[in-house]
Structures are given as C-alpha cells and as structure tokens.
C-alpha cells in the first residue's frame, strides 16, 4: 500500500516549516522541478565532505574511488532505464541532452531538404535546437499534426513521415497537456523510413517505468531535478553505435585519447567522449541516490499515484464552471487550466497568495497556443509526495475565486 504521508517524511522541503506568503506551502509545480529526499542531499554532501576528488585524472586512491562511484552511478541509471552502462552520457540535463543529439548527430549527418519531425506541443528544448540544425544544414522542420485531443499519434506520424525524414523528436509526455505518446510505435514508423527517434523524457522518465530497450528509440533525454535529483545533471541515453558515430561537440580534458600539433584529436569511446571537462560529480552521486530512491518506491506506484490524483482533481473540478481544463483525458499528473476571464499569471499570483505554487504562462511551449486556443495557461503538477489535501487546497482556492487583487491587499 503506497503511503504518501510516509513518503513525505523523506523530504526536508515538506517538513511543515516551509511557508509561502505566511501559509503552509502547497507545491504543485512538480513538472518544473521537484523536491529532494534527504538521502539525495546526503549523497551530494558526501562528495564534498568525504569523497572530493576529480575523476579520470590521476592515480591516487581517492580519485580511483571517485571513478568507481561515477561508474556505479552510470550503472544505476542504466538499470533504472534499462540500457547498457556505456549508453548513458551524463549531461547537465534534458536540454543539454537534446542539444547534444542536435549538434553531435544531426549537424553531422543531415543534409539539405532532409526532414526533422517535431510537434507544436514541444518544449523549447525540443524545438530550438532543431531550428538551429535546420538553419545550418538546409534541413526542414515539419510538424506532426495533432489529433482532436491535441495528442501526437502514430497514425498522424504516418501522414507526414517520408523518405526525407531523418529525425523524429517528441516528448513522451508533454509538459503542458501531458498526454502519453506512443513513442514505441512512432519509433517503428520512423525506423521504417531510415530515420532516428529521439524521445524527450523530461516529463515521462520521472513519472513512469520507462524501458529504453523496449521502446527501441535511438535517444532518450531526461533531467535529474524533475525526479528527486539535483539540478545541473541529467542524461542522454543513446544506442551505442549512434553515440559512437556522433561528433563529440565539446572538446577538452577527459574526452580524448590524445591530440597533436597537426590538429588531430582522437576521442575516447562513448560515453566519455561526450563528457569533456570536470563533471558535476556531486550531482552524479545525487542522481544515483535519486534513481535508487525511486526504484525503492516503485515507478508503477509513482505513476498510479499521479493518476489517482489526476482523477481526484478532475472529479472535484468538473463542477466548477469557471475553470476551463485543457487536458481532461491525459491522466499524467499535470492539469492545465484557466479561470474564465482571468489572465493565467494573475491567477497564479492569487494562488501564490494562498500558499499554492503553480506555473503560469506558456510553460516554454510557445507554439501550443493555436492548438489549445489560448496563449497562456495555469499548470498544476503532482508528484509522489503530493496529497489529496494539496489537491483540495487548489480546488478550494479555485472554488473560492476571489479578486486577483486580494494578493496585493489582503
């Protein structure tokens, strides 16, 4: 039996002492970032108090131990996502991971009139790198049509895929509407025409069991900070042969076997060839602690908890005629809405005044406005420590309504 109240005890941010506007903090912005359990914080601190050393750069015990720890972390993440250890590249996060595919793979292999498929619901990190690649190579960015629920479907991918399709890159769960996309079947379709499949896992990997091998996608990007881990660390998981074929993008220490005055440089094998410079070692240890924590909780439990909260919130909100919900069918721990005649940011300020943290605006998905018919929304997002009481606080605040200026004058 999943006990959310027991889980909450693991998180210092949820110890009851944290206030916002003098009120108990109700944190419903988990699609943006998540709180960290004490063991993740301890793992990071331990790097600074007990294990401080660089990695790959010396012969003394302390450093050797650090190399072992980085390798253990890589193994833990590979196990969590079901990939090989040497398919896990540490990056600064999801954004850096997608950029690495764009500039390491796409820039090297795409040519004029090749096509890159994305969708209008994508986050900036899965749009702007492809725009840049298109500008630099002459390739074209094309958009997968959305279905009536603004969802990406394999059927609609079939409508736009062609022999020119070299890359398809979509979020497995979008950061605004949060529909789960059938990336496994989309990958099959893309592979049939010889393209590669890139999956932005920023909102899926933290919330559900993801199996890299089973999905058979080519690259999977995600961030640690959205899954109880530290900021500034994440992973690009890629099929080894593709990683091997890519450019390293960043040159520097730790990524090469050697270089000489004639301008040649021989890169190390993946994943080291992508990890130039001193890595975020404290972050890597925290990342490992985070995935181990989630495995103990069980990703199926996390997903089920998200869905239960979504259903609970939906059942409570459906009677409120003032609330417009844009993703009633997604069931993935994100509810995106507006209050009639209230600008999203003004609503978020009113909720802030009540101690409730939500995101408002465009959520970095700035092409979605046409699909959903509004240029800004409020987003409430849940995670494994969110309670029904948190949802009640939101529902009550929305039912109470109130003047947006209460936030300034009450």
């Amino acid at each position: 039996m999943y006990d959310v109240y027991k889980v909450r005890k693991d998180f210092p941010m949820l110890d009851g002492t944290k206030k916002m506007q003098g009120k108990n903090l109700v944190f419903l912005d988990n699609a943006s970032t998540t709180f960290k359990p004490q063991r993740v914080i301890d793992a990071m601190t331990e790097y600074y108090t007990t294990f401080t050393a660089n990695s790959h750069r010396g012969d003394y015990d302390l450093l050797y131990n650090m190399d072992v720890k980085v390798s253990e972390a890589r193994k833990a993440i590979a196990k969590f996502i079901n990939s090989e250890e040497n398919e896990v590249v540490f990056t600064s996060g999801d954004t850096a991971s997608i950029n690495l595919v764009a500039f390491g793979y796409a820039l090297k292999f795409l040519k004029k009139d090749d096509e890159i498929l994305i969708s209008e619901t994508e986050h900036a990190s899965n749009v702007i790198p492809w725009f840049k690649v298109a500008q630099m190579t002459g390739a074209k960015v094309k958009y997968i049509p959305l279905d009536e629920n603004n969802k990406i479907t394999p059927e609609n991918v079939k409508k736009v895929v062609c022999s020119a399709t070299k890359i398809c890159s979509v979020a497995q769960v979008g950061n605004v509407l949060a529909h789960e996309v059938d990336v496994k079947n989309i990958a099959k379709i893309v592979h049939e025409v010889g393209g590669i499949m890139v999956v932005d896992g920023a909102q899926s990997v933290p919330h559900m069991k993801i199996d890299f091998k089973d999905l058979d996608c080519d690259f999977l990007a995600f961030s640690a900070h959205k899954m109880c881990g530290p900021t500034g660390i994440g992973a690009l998981v890629g099929k080894y042969d593709l990683l091997d074929s890519m450019d390293a993008v960043f040159g520097g220490g730790g990524m090469n076997i050697g270089f000489s005055t004639n301008g040649t440089c021989v890169a190390l094998n993946p994943p080291a060839k992508f990890e130039a410079g001193t890595m975020n070692l404290s972050g890597i240890l925290g990342f490992k602690a985070a995935v181990e924590y989630l495995e103990e909780i069980g990703m199926d439990n996390v997903h089920k908890h998200d869905q239960e909260l979504f259903d609970y919130a939906m059942s409570k909100l459906e009677d409120n005629e003032n609330v417009i919900i844009y993703n009633k069918t997604s069931r993935n721990g994100i509810i995106t809405f507006n209050v009639k005649n209230v600008f999203s940011q003004d609503e978020a300020t009113l909720l802030n005044h009540k101690g409730i943290a939500v995101r408002s605006g465009q959520h970095c998905a700035k092409m979605i406005d046409e699909a959903i018919g509004t240029n800004a929304t409020v987003r409430a997002s849940f995670y494994l420590y969110t309670t029904k009481e948190d949802v009640d606080a939101l529902v009550d605040a929305l039912n109470e309504g109130g003047d947006i200026l209460d936030a300034y004058f009450n």
Binding site: F343, Q345, D346, T349, N352, H353, G361, L405, Y408, F409
Partner: protein, 142 residues
C-alpha cells in the same frame, strides 16, 4: 502618509485594467517605441512616447499584458503626458523607489500609488515596472 485607502487602490488598478484608455497603437507617426517582454510573465508590450521640445506630448502602449502590467502602464501613460522630460524621469525614478520599498516622493505619483503593495508579490515586480522601464529607456538620452 498615503491618502489612498486599499479599496481606492484596488478600484484604480481594476479600472485601468478593465478599461485601459492608453492601450492602443500611436495615432500618428513620430512616436518613439521600446519593446519589452518579461522572462517569467507573458507580458510582451510596446511602449510609445511622443516627445517634442523636451515635453512628453503623448504616451500609449500595446501588446499582450497581465492585469498588473496593463494597469501600471496605463496609469504611467496618464502621468507622463504633458510632463517635461526631466519631470517625467523624476516620476519614473520615484515610482521605482516605491516599488522597491525605498523612500520616495509620493507627491508626484498620483494613481500609481496604487502599486505600493507590489513587493508583497515579488514575482510581479517585473509586471508592475515593464512599461515604466520602457519609458525610462526612451527618455534616458534626452
């Protein structure tokens, strides 16, 4: 100290949000424009000033804006119209002092005093100053 009650301040903000008379494109050529957008709000506005012979003859703005930015910019336009550039700069400076809870000269701020509580919602300071920063940008070399 302040002569405005909370109720009056609320009414002022709501009035300028619901009915922003200065929210429109310039009626003729000659206006200087500065575009500003917010990193964390959707505010994306152009502010226009018509400055002739050292006087702000007219002010208006247009674009996408939340309640706070719409209202604060609309009030600013009212305040700056007809002022000499030096006076206009002084008003903008005093407004910024007020927003940041520093000592300020309330005698020149009129309806913009309604924004005195902005610091209670610190994330919205940018909204309450976006039009003011644009006007400041236009006037800074004058």
């Amino acid at each position: 100290m302040l002569t405005l009650t909370n109720e009056m301040m609320r009414a002022i903000i709501m009035d300028h949000y619901s009915n922003p008379i200065n929210k429109h494109q310039p009626p003729k050529d000659g206006y200087e424009k500065v575009h500003m957008h917010s990193d964390n709000c959707i505010d994306d506005i152009d502010t226009f000033l018509l400055v002739e012979n050292g006087v702000v003859v007219d002010a208006c703005f247009d674009g996408v804006a939340c309640a706070i930015s719409t209202s604060s910019t609309d009030i600013m336009c009212d305040l700056l119209k007809g002022k000499e550039v030096s006076q206009a700069k002084y008003i903008i400076e005093q407004y910024h002092h007020m927003i940041h809870e520093e000592e300020f000269d309330e005698s020149v701020l009129e309806e913009s005093l309604a924004f005195i509580n902005t610091s209670k919602q610190a994330a919205r300071i940018r909204c309450a100053t976006i039009g003011w920063n644009a006007a400041d940008e236009i006037l800074k070399d004058k």
